[in-house]
Symmetry: C2
Subunit: 218 residues, 2 copies
DNA sequence: TTAAATTTGTTAAAATTTTCACTATTCGAG
DNA sequence: CTCGAATAGTGAAAATTTTAACAAATTTAA
């Protein structure tokens, strides 16, 4: 072998599929399934087998020809790629409907994520214990430090302001639920989720329904 | 002109950007901005101007050369494309952390979405009024009918079972929060959102941070 | 009225992502 | 040990999506 393939750019879509694979593998592992082929994997998660293999190929060779993939081994490898074998602390800002739901969700820890701080502007919420953490006043955020992940669950009008605070306090990755775009300095990663948008997209496909062909699944 | 462009296939990514445009337009309309150019639009939502124009071009011509787009007109047009000018009723199944957050969210109505039913297995939750609706027993779902949108917010292990129920009751589009893939008959549209996956993807980019180049925004 | 400045809609090129098709490897049966 | 079946990894083709570039339209300034 001449040279191991160097880190070519990996498609973003590949990255977004990794958690899907990971989750599915965890699930079948619970059912004591030890091996799985790309064929079966693909069928179960609703993609093409070649896509699954191609996705993995960006990171190395994890299977055995003729046999398939060891579920345990693959979980370890994909987990490693996603760095799920480390603990990742997160701050949440905005302990409203959504923020509370996130704080109460008990399964983030299984993926290595831990909400260790929560802040709100509303003093009536300060001091409340939700999930594992007690809500603090937003004004204390600048003093607290060095948590890599931030979750923004405040009203859209405060999104940018909160993002600035988080970045200033050292947050390096932000999950933004507000639907508003936030500007961040170079080097800070933002991902946005908006549940209203998802409904709207769903609704589009519903309204423009074409009876023939496959429906979108997952 | 020989023939008006017929309904070519529209990129899915285009559809997912439409709600972003729509939301931003609503926002600037509140600030009494009447016109906007693709340049400015693009800068504000973090895309290229040519992409914005291309996206719109799939649906018609909505701007005025030399001037830009009328905010009001564009809102109406994009709203029309997404069918937001109609009322869309939705059912939610699983009134836990997330389901409750969704039911309490007061702004879905502004986009034409209305959660008109909510079901849970847990009888201690049945009868509770959350947001505008009262939680009903899941066993009543088969009797209730003809709501086009369904939201699944039950544990992953029940996802498929609930999907089957929803489809049987006439639901045509499903927003699935469980992270489990669900199989649906042809003609039913599914969109999935998993907050854990989003964190995992964010975390990937954080861990594989490349200091040079743009960061991902929005 | 004319010229300069904007800005759209669109065509074509570039970039990205998915799918195909084939080779090589491995297992297990005979 | 040899053969056949199953299946991974991969290079190339195909499909999709983004970006660039420019002609046509419109406004504004002179
Ligand atoms: N809940 C949903 O189903 C849903 C759906 C779509 C979008 N969203 C979006 O998600 C975000 C959160 O939604 P929600 O329903 O939890 O809202 P919410 O109003 O229930 O909660 C917002 C919380 O943020 C706090 N807050 C406001 N400004 C703050 C600031 N500057 N610093 C710290 N805390 C501040 C408020 O006190 C409140 O507790 C919003 O942007 C909303 O538009 C929510
Ligand atoms: N809350 C979060 O932050 C979060 C994060 C990631 C993923 N999720 C996923 O979203 C989904 C909902 O999460 P949650 O935190 O609201 O869960 P939850 O446990 O708080 O609520 C689930 C609700 O569904 C009900 N239920 C269970 N089986 C049912 C059935 N067959 N029919 C009707 N109702 C049934 C339960 O009684 C409960 O009220 C889960 O699949 C979860 O994995 C949630």
């Amino acid at each position: 072998m001449i040279l191991k393939k160097k880190k070519d750019k990996i498609p973003e879509r590949t990255i977004t599929r990794l958690p899907i694979y990971y989750n599915f593998l965890l699930e079948i592992q619970k059912n004591d399934i030890r091996m799985i082929s790309s064929q079966e994997m693909a069928r179960k998660v609703g993609i093409k087998a070649s896509q699954f293999r191609k996705d993995l190929s960006y990171f190395g060779e994890f299977g055995t020809q003729g046999l398939g993939y060891s579920v345990e081994h693959l979980i370890e490898k994909i987990g490693g790629i996603l760095h799920l074998n480390y603990r990742h602390n997160a701050v949440i800002v905005g302990v409203g409907n959504l923020g509370t739901a996130l704080m109460n969700y008990p399964h983030f820890g299984e993926w290595g994520f831990h909400i260790v701080r929560a802040y709100d502007l509303d003093t009536s919420k300060v001091g409340r214990k939700i999930g594992y953490t007690t809500v603090k006043d937003i004004r204390e955020l600048p003093r607290d430090i060095m948590i890599p992940l931030g979750i923004i669950a405040v009203p859209p009008s405060s999104a940018q302001e909160v993002a600035n605070l988080l970045v200033a306090s050292g947050v390096r990755g932000i999950l933004n639920f507000t639907g508003s775009r936030i500007e961040v300095p170079n080097g800070v990663v933002v991902r946005s989720v908006d549940l209203t948008y998802e409904l709207a997209v769903l609704n589009y496909y519903l309204s423009h329904f074409v009876p023939s062909g496959d429906s979108k699944k997952r």
